[in-house]
Amino acid sequence: MTHPVPASHDASLAHAQSFWRTWVFSTDHKTIAKQYMFTGLALALVGGFLAYVIRMQLASPGRPVPGYGAVGPGQYNAVVTLHGTIMIFWVAMPILLAGLGNFLIPLMIGARDMAFPRLNMLSYWIFFISTVILLVSFFVPGGAAAGGWTTYPPLSDRAINSGVDLGVTLWILAVALEFAAFLMGGINFIVTAINNRAPGMRLFDMPLMVWMEVAASIIFLFSVGPLIAGAVLLLLDRTANTGFYDPARGGDPLLFQHLFWFFGHPEVYVILLPGFGAVAEILPVFARKPVFGYRMIVYSTIVTGVLSFIVWAHHQFVAGIDPRLATPFSITTILISVPIGITLFAFIATLWRGSITLQTPMLFALGMIAVFLLGGVTGIHNGVPATDIYIHDTYFVVAHFHYALIPSVFFAFFAAFYYWFPKMFGRRTNEWLGQLHFWGTFVFMNVTFFSMFLLGLMGHHRRISNPHFFEALRTPEADRLQWIATIGALGLLAAQIALIANLILSLTRGVRAERNPWRANTLEWTVESPPPHGNFATLPLVRRGPYEYSAPGRSEDYLPQDAPA
């Protein structure tokens, strides 16, 4: 078996590189990972600020928001649109898929870098340009896109409909560039995992994190085409005066919805799976036990991925599609609870008879499961057409998808971040600040979003800038819930100060990390912290799967993948 090393690395390892080549235009997967991660986290601050504006406006409509000012209806539409867009496309995707995937895939499979390091660098810089375009769109005449993150035409089609012109064009451009960037990244992930595994590593020796990143990349690859087509048609409608979505000229607005959600629902799993992957790595290490049913989790992930392609119309039960389509799509939708249930129950079963320690990564991993469970089960309410008639486009749905996305995006990412921080930066994080960060995030997340389930049941529909305009939402009861959600959101944002403080403190004064501070099995822990450019001086020889913890007959309770028996 031969394992060719990319030519660029023979050269790059030979001599010291300039500042620009090391930190900015780097082809090193670890640097690119950090670039993606910190760009994503910076955008999370922007998305978080927009969430703050939304919550302040809803709790006390009309009163100027400190730090922002009065929120007009047009601005409110732009704020909710950009909050969703940023959190999904510019936070979840870069930190989970590009950030963790880039850092971990080569290290975990014992490779020196990605299969295509230059393509990898190009991917980040295209993403960077898309970020700049998106941020610029806030400041152009007419303001940023204001048609919701789903940007349905005809609202997004003609400037006269939404009051926004250039902002929408920039939005489409930014999203299209971003997807081009992730396509390059995704192809890289898949090729790397298939071709560049260290000697001895079979597919079923790969850590679940690698499986999940690859599965997410494949799902993204297959689903993104229709969306890009949809976006191009929209761009043509806007700029070249075509009529793909214009019923007056034979077009159909529902076409866009199908193209959008054919991508949009698989996208949920593109985000969720890397989060599951991080949890799957962390639970065994902090329970000192093999993950429960490794192959079962792999197969249920594949089933999830396949099912995710035949559920999209559950976003459109009341959108004007033929009502006879609803029940078939409902069945496929709620069937996803089976493979997802298998994965979650396998995670819980991993804890059974373990030897559990509750350090920060483990707390966030357990928190991810605990919170996601509620997001998962409320998916049934939305996935059943008859109940969706009532809760569609209400805050019940808003609560549901925040309960699904916040654990998979933030809890899982924070778990991963605290867990791999010693490997990324060569220093340990502060445990006290980490625990504070966890409990603050966990408590305030629930305070914020549980209230939204109740507001949704009361009839609070989405994207309205002033709930007091509606009789059902003018009650003291509804006002109290609005304030609880707002105070929760303020607390949730404040809790992130603990993360920023921890980051600064640990990067400057953190205790130096040894190679394997958590006594873990996977290959990334066999190299220095942080690993040098090129990762492995000699490629490891893989002898076993990644989860041999507390194996009988050994004094140590872990057994690295490459350790001689």
């Binding site: 005809p154 019923p247 069937l335 605990a370 057409p385 008859a386 486009d393 049941l457 309205i464």
Partner: protein
């Protein structure tokens, strides 16, 4: 469950079914949710690291071990199918059938108002005594109301919380549907789909009243469509 206490008071013939289904689903998933959280918390407390106690080696490579996960998930599959089997007839009644109409109205969503066209005293649409009203609709209680829903400019969504009814209004399509208001009162009809600057403000008031009161309202408004048409210039229809 107490779920109903959060919902606006039901006011249509099928609202009870929707509420019942919401409760039914909440009970089923609620029990699963609490069981899963309970086991999770129990394991974390029970299996905290203790000196001298080593974790068990349970990789669960065999079906026998995996059964601890697969059997509950098979049960989930069963519950999924039961939920959809129970829900499908409710959806079918609300959205896939059209009971004979006692009143027929045309609803058009536009930026940012709901426009209604009703038959005048002659009971037929597209005649000289047609009624056209904006953001204000009267309906007789207990009558089966059929609607033809469309949108003029962008997508809107017809949403009456008390009726438990929502339906997007799409430009270029006419979507038929029905509901039967069962309680006299004043209701709000909102737009549930973001539709531009005035999305929040897009709201009609719907008065459900006795047959007599409704008929006197119809007489009062009869022919208003003509007036509107003249004001707006020649109409193609």
């Amino acid at each position: 469950m107490g779920l109903e206490s959060w919902l606006p008071k039901a006011a249509s013939s099928f609202a009870g079914d929707v509420d019942w289904l919401l409760g039914f689903i909440t009970w089923i998933v609620g029990i699963w949710f609490l069981a899963a959280e309970g086991i999770l918390i129990f394991f974390v407390l029970r299996y905290r690291r203790r000196p001298g106690v080593r974790a068990a080696y349970v990789p669960a490579r065999r079906l026998r071990a995996m059964a601890f996960v697969l059997v509950p998930c098979a049960a989930i599959l069963g519950f999924d199918l039961v939920i959809d089997a129970v829900a499908a007839p409710i959806w079918h009644r609300i959205k896939e059938t059209l009971p004979p109409a006692q009143e027929t109205i045309r609803i058009t969503g536009e930026q940012w108002a709901w426009r209604f066209r009703l038959p005048g005293p002659d009971g037929r649409l597209d005649t000289a005594d047609d009624i056209e009203v904006v953001n204000e609709l009267h309906l007789p209680v207990d009558a089966v109301v059929q609607f033809e829903l469309t949108a003029k400019d962008v997508i809107h969504s017809f949403w009456m919380p008390e009726m438990r009814l929502k339906q997007d209004a799409v430009p270029g399509r006419t979507i038929r549907g029905w509901f039967q208001p069962t309680r006299v009162g004043h209701y709000e009809m909102d737009c549930a789909q973001i539709c531009g600057l005035g999305h929040t403000m897009m709201k009609a008031s719907v008065v459900v009243e006795s047959r007599e009161a409704y008929e006197s309202w119809v007489r009062e408004k009869a022919g208003s469509a003509q007036v509107t048409s003249r004001e707006e210039g020649p109409e193609s229809r």
